[in-house]
């Protein structure tokens, strides 16, 4: 267990508490999200901090952290590309796209590129079926994608950093 949160961090975290809710545990998801936004993933220290602010145990926070698909308990790349593999995108070639992404980058799905620049994750339907095959890059929609466009995208990610 790490030492107590310093006052400043605590204040920052407390600002995330939804005031309209009667219990602090309602802040767990927003807190996890904001820590992840800062650090790229929710690390063990983050779980401990969320626990401290909400008064839950680390295990109780972990129960939630491990349920959600958008909370990363393992390090992710600086950029995260979530490629949809659900029906509409799959009909438009998402499976080939995912394979190509692995082949092109040499990084398997869910892993980080050696330079830490990006990770590629398969995702359930992103609500971008009208742009299939689609992906979310750091939360921004990209699509329709094809293999060439994907290659350009991945190359740009490596160059930007």
């Amino acid at each position: 267990m790490n030492d107590k949160l310093d006052r400043q961090t605590l204040q920052k975290h407390l600002a995330q508490l939804p005031l309209t809710h009667p219990e602090r545990r309602a802040a767990v998801v927003p807190l996890m999200q904001s820590l992840q936004a800062e650090r790229g993933h929710l690390d063990d220290r983050g779980v401990e901090e969320v626990a401290q602010v909400t008064g839950l145990s680390t295990t109780e926070v972990e129960e939630l952290a491990t349920f959600y698909s958008l909370i990363y308990r393992h390090p992710a790349g600086r950029h995260v590309l979530r490629v949809c593999d659900s029906l509409c995108c799959s009909l438009q070639g998402a499976d080939r796209l995912l394979q190509a992404a692995e082949q092109y980058s040499g990084v398997s799905l869910g892993k980080i590129s050696p330079d830490g620049a990006f990770s590629i994750l398969p995702s359930i339907c992103l609500g971008l079926c009208d742009q299939a095959p689609a992906a979310l890059l750091d939360g921004e929609a990209v699509g329709p994608l094809n293999e060439a466009a994907l290659q350009v995208l991945l190359r740009r990610l490596q160059e930007v950093d």
Binding site: P30, T54, L64, R82, L91, I124, C125, D130
Partner: protein
């Protein structure tokens, strides 16, 4: 039909408060506050506004059936979790017009006399959620949200919850757990959320598309609303069309518009030389319809009569190059992946089905597998804890019926016929 719900939708460039007001936004607040809450509920019921979240339950009836003397605070939850494959209509509403949503939530909360509203946004729509949050702050500054709204004496706190991400969070009771910071497993049906919902207080949940109709109904009346639909349908409807069509997209059309018109006119039809294999009319958990159903009006009862559900009115089109076994396998993998893991049939049964389907799809299936699929899917559909697994079984059961020959040929030939076709074509 002139656009109603999407009229002021500007994809990714939504109107701010001032602009929205200048096109008539927030006018329904006066119309609402001038009426008793009960009257609004009556109007909504008379308009026959049916839930756009999937089940199509009458919105007015749901509101009327809540306990009017329920203890305070009461909650209204607006559902923008939209994760049903094929569905993207709520995304347009969220990214393109947050103030329309806020307005709808205010008048609906007033009708329900709910003093707290939570708008639940799927995590993948986080940017839209933040935009909505900013819009709420704008509305708060303008006295449209908060205490004594526009001098009406009505107080409403409104906040956005951005989900950590999971399809099951869209299920009403799982969503309540998610908001409370509990694991988002569904709750037991009793007591109902309308009695003990969020934080054990009375709670009403509606899909965002359902709610955005309410201001328009208030301003124009129930009759106007009913008249907007065609063939038995009522009101405007957001249709999503995707899959093997030229121009997938969102189309706001009269509820009751036939599928043929949607697929072939609005979505540009199929690629050159392709024929229609079938389509899913209402998102991943609805049954397949076949070419013979093209003229079925896309409205709740007619689609039900045709053997499927209007669901989220999200049409996924399959043409003759798509393997229905692969399609079904894709759906089962989706459901296996998103099962919350609470009850046995869903948690362990769906992956089992997916495994069987995978063997069939790859040509390693056995004849008895089809019997097994039927037997297992029946049990899973009937004996699971929440509506997730029954929803998951619908496309499987219907696929086995509609595309039985395809399953048999996979088993008989020991390969996927479409693989051969696609490969030789490529």
């Amino acid at each position: 039909m002139e656009a109603v719900l999407t009229r002021h939708i500007e994809a990714n460039a939504p109107l701010d408060l001032e602009a929205y007001r200048s096109v008539g936004g927030y006018r329904s607040l006066d119309a609402a506050f001038a009426r008793k809450p009960e009257e609004i509920i009556e109007i909504v019921e008379a308009a026959n506004l049916r839930g756009r979240g999937g089940a199509g339950f009458s919105c007015g009836l749901k509101w009327r059936l809540r306990d009017a003397d329920a203890p305070r605070p009461r909650y209204l939850v607006c559902n923008i979790d939209e994760s049903e494959p094929g569905t993207f209509k709520d995304r347009y509403l969220l990214y393109g017009g947050p103030h329309q949503i806020i307005e709808a939530v205010i008048v609906s909360a007033y009708a329900l006399q709910a003093e707290k509203a939570v708008i639940f946004v799927r995590g993948e729509y986080g940017k839209g959620g933040h935009g909505l949050h900013r819009a709420i702050k704008e509305a708060e500054m303008a006295g449209l949200v908060g205490s004594n709204i526009c001098g009406s004496g009505f107080d409403l706190q409104m906040e956005v919850h951005i989900s950590g991400g999971r399809y099951i969070c869209g299920e009403e009771t799982a969503m309540l757990n998610a908001i409370e910071g509990l694991r988002p497993n569904p709750r037991h049906k009793m007591p109902r959320p309308s009695v003990k919902g969020l934080w054990q207080h009375p709670t009403t949940t509606n899909n965002v598309e359902t709610l955005v109709n309410v201001p328009h109904i208030l301003l124009n009346g129930a009759d106007w609303f009913r008249a907007l639909g065609i063939n038995s349908g009522c009101g405007p409807k957001l249709f999503c069309v995707s899959g093997m069509v030229h121009q997938p997209g969102l189309f706001e059309l009269p509820c009751g518009t036939p599928a043929r018109e949607l697929i072939f006119e609005h979505a540009g039809g199929l690629a050159e030389g392709r024929t229609l294999l079938g389509f899913i009319p209402g998102g991943a958990s609805t049954a397949f319809l076949l070419p013979e159903h093209l003229d079925v009006p896309m409205d709740f009862d007619p689609v039900a009569k045709a053997g499927s559900r209007l669901g989220t009115a999200s049409i996924i089109v399959l043409d003759d190059t798509t393997c229905p076994v692969q399609v079904t396998l894709n759906l089962m993998r989706f459901f296996a992946r998103e099962s919350c893991g609470f009850c046995t049939p869903c948690r362990d049964g769906i992956p089992y089905l997916a495994q069987i389907l995978a063997t069939i799809a790859s040509g390693e299936g056995r004849a008895e597998d089809l019997v097994l699929l039927e037997e297992l899917s029946g049990i899973i559909a009937l004996q699971s804890f929440c509506a997730f697994a029954p929803g998951a079984m619908i496309p499987l059961i219907s696929s086995l019926q509609c595309f039985h020959d395809h399953y048999e040929s996979h088993i008989d030939t020991g390969c996927c016929p479409f693989d051969a076709v696609n490969k030789s074509g490529a």
